[in-house]
Subunit: 229 residues, 2 copies
DNA sequence: ATATAGTGTGTAATTTTTACACTAAGTAAT
DNA sequence: ATTACTTAGTGTAAAAATTACACACTATAT
């Protein structure tokens, strides 16, 4: 409930964990800060929520400003509001994660002034992060680990047309363990949400794999049924 | 990321969906508003986050002020921040749910001045709610529906000692469908997190059921394994 | 022609899930 | 003490899902 509206000093921001997949590794986008506090540290990209923006809009804007990308899958997952999380005052931050297919590094725009640069860094080898951003990242990874078991979010990290091996690779990276090829295929095809294309992988120096596409319409029909890995 | 700290007009509140179980029904605690906007409407209890409170502390405080209870299981689950959700200005609110065993109505303290009264109302028959509280409630229910399938939260709604039938009842109410008694028992006992007591139910006019207790230590050992209903 | 590297496929054993109905135990009423 | 009533407590067989496991095929590169 909300009654009177006092003028309070709480600042309200959004921080994003942008997960990217380049076909090999899972990476996240970090910026190198150009300002105190934590000048020269790596941090999650984020910003203040504008007065007339919805939260989701604000998250999309932050992502757009950094990458030039629109229409990316993003989800809010937690609010961090410890009174001491920011050395200069109370800042409550909402965490979003996004899932992005990386193809070439053209997605990186010139970054805004508060950062020296932005970089995609593999999650297997992250630097120390500013503020409580390690905690925010950890919780984000945990979230997608759980999500991928029940929702078709893996596709967001892949090009529209992908091979089953690529898909399996994404699952293995996120869940963090190897899966059996035959069982994986049996299961994922069993859900009936993939459309097999008349097209093969190109540019590989071995037998080319069949390409598939995620079929949203078939997925919609599944509604209510549990997907589980 | 957070840079300078501008003085912004955003107000920051917490709203709580307090789920209570009295042995029969699932209820939530609603307050009847005494102030504009939405005077005389039912609303979720909530409040402004204090300047030195953590978010979890703030949620616990709100719950304590309303019910006199401490140590209740609460979890933050979503932030609602549509620019128009509050008619008098921008209010971003964090939603928490809590799970409470109701035993006698002694838990209800005199409520603060912004409310006429507070009442536990069965979720099967809720009034129209103020602001976007219907949406907040809906998302909260959805959340515990998913949660109860993978985490031992049902026990929070029951007395320390409970019968398997009572436990099944809670599952049925939250998940929203009937379960088979034998299969339920087989499965839940199979997890090995219940301790059978040497004690029977009292005060019933039929064969008394065995009482059980949730065993946190055994549960801790399960860590990593999936519980699934 | 041959080496190489990843694709694509089936089955049997095991485990988990589902569906299903009767007897036992305690209380209340007579 | 008999009876009626109400819920507790239990097992099994069939079906479905999961696991473990290995080899032949195909495209390319040399």
């Amino acid at each position: 409930m909300e009654q009177i509206l006092p003028h309070l000093d709480s600042v309200f921001s959004i921080d994003c964990v942008l997960f990217g997949f380049d076909g090999k590794e899972l990476k996240i986008l970090l910026i190198e800060r150009n300002e105190e506090p934590f000048k020269d540290w790596w941090a999650l990209p984020g910003n203040i929520v504008g007065p007339d923006e919805s939260l989701d809009q604000s998250a999309s804007r932050i992502l757009y400003e950094l990458t030039g990308l629109r229409g990316i899958f993003m989800e809010q997952y937690y609010a961090f509001g410890d009174p001491n999380r920011h050395p200069q005052g109370r800042v409550i931050t909402l965490a979003y994660y996004a899932l992005i297919r990386l193809g070439g590094d053209k997605e990186l725009r010139p970054v805004s002034n508060y950062a020296k640069r932005a970089n995609w860094l593999p999650i297997t080898d992250l630097p120390r992060l500013a503020f409580d951003h390690q905690k925010i990242y950890d919780k984000g990874l945990e979230k997608i680990k759980r999500r991928i078991k029940h929702q078709p979010i893996a596709f967001e990290l892949l090009p529209e047309k992908f091979t089953l091996t690529q898909l399996q690779h994404v699952y293995e990276l996120i869940i963090g363990k190897k899966l059996d090829k035959r069982n994986f295929r049996k299961k994922i095809l069993g859900f009936g949400v993939l459309k097999e294309l008349d097209e093969k992988q190109k540019g590989v120096s071995y037998r080319a794999a069949t390409l598939y596409r995620f079929d949203k319409r078939k997925y919609a029909k599944l509604f209510g049924k549990e997907i589980s890995f």
